[in-house]
Amino acid sequence: MIPILVTSGKGGTGKTTIATNLAVNLAERGIKVSFMDADLMAPNAHMFIDVNKEKLREAGKMLLPLKVGEHLEFMGLGVFIPRGVGVALNYEKTTDFITTLLRFVKWSGDYLIIDAPPGAISINVKLMKELQGRARAVIVGEPHPFAIEDNLRMIDLLKFYDIDVRAVVLNKYNLFQDEIAKQVTGEYEKLGLKVVKIPWDPRLQSQTVPELFNELANVVIA
């Protein structure tokens, strides 16, 4: 199983949208995909996919992920907590949940897509240490100068933990000034990073549109 960390240097970049659509895109190709919602501050990934809200099950001291169609399975805290309950986990509880999700769920996919929390924060360091040397990553950001600064910090951390950064996704590319977007693209490309541009599409507000993510999926599994 190859873990693919979908992360970003700051919040609100559309990371969950990218992770969800990437997972669905791969699953629609017939690839077995596991999808883990590790964004414990905003565990919303299940909202975009048709998670079968079956009861929690266990086999051999491992929790069984929830099925989402034939090739996709899912596990995340958001499915189990009542809507609207404040999730304010301290570091100890957060890392404990990450451990459960990473080590004590019986994942069966060829790829494990991980929707990570945003920012160069301690919980991401915990994730990176767990995945050191065996994971790939996708960094999500919008094409503007703030995002570049935050993502550079994240890229540095990922490289430090020997995680293979496959692509930088410039989300909602068409909503930003062309000149700035080009400049941002150039900065990432100077670092030798593959840039994948995802346009804003109103359908993504309420559903997955996996066909928009073919290029990203190809880069990630190559």
């Binding site: 929690l56 266990e58 189990f80």
Partner: protein
């Protein structure tokens, strides 16, 4: 001991009903028979009661134990009696109580605390089904 905790003399029977519901649950949690738990309840005056929940062979067992010196269990859970009552009245979700730091869970078998929390929440879900 406070009256409130005295009223909890019905608790072992109640928790046992929950465990018997485990007959269905054992299909979902076959490892449950290898696990045991200490449930510790306290009130604001510092009174405590504790119960050992587990299986002896195929038989679910709940018995009161010394809260200051409880026997080994794979997990220990403690909460204020008011929190416990709110959960049983379905006025507070078990998982929410854990997220609000109203419940303390200890793992003694190497599994993460959150893993035990999810198992316990499944137990309380079944218990509430019985109480409805």
């Amino acid at each position: 001991m406070s009256l409130r905790l005295r009223l909890l003399s019905i608790l072992p029977k109640l928790m046992l009903i929950g465990l018997r519901k485990f007959n269905d649950l054992l299909n979902e949690f076959p490892e449950a028979k290898t696990r045991s738990s200490i449930l510790k309840l306290y009130d604001s005056a510092g009174n405590q009661v504790a119960f050992w929940l587990g299986f002896e062979g195929d038989r679910p067992v709940v018995r009161e134990v010394d809260p200051k010196n409880p026997p080994y269990a794979t997990t220990e859970i403690s909460m204020h009696v008011d929190v416990f009552i709110k959960i049983l009245k379905n006025k507070l979700d078990f998982r929410a109580a854990y997220l609000y730091d109203l419940i303390d869970i200890k793992s003694n078998d190497g599994l993460p605390v959150s893993y035990h929390m999810l198992l316990w929440s499944a137990y309380f879900d079944r218990l509430l089904e019985v109480l409805k």
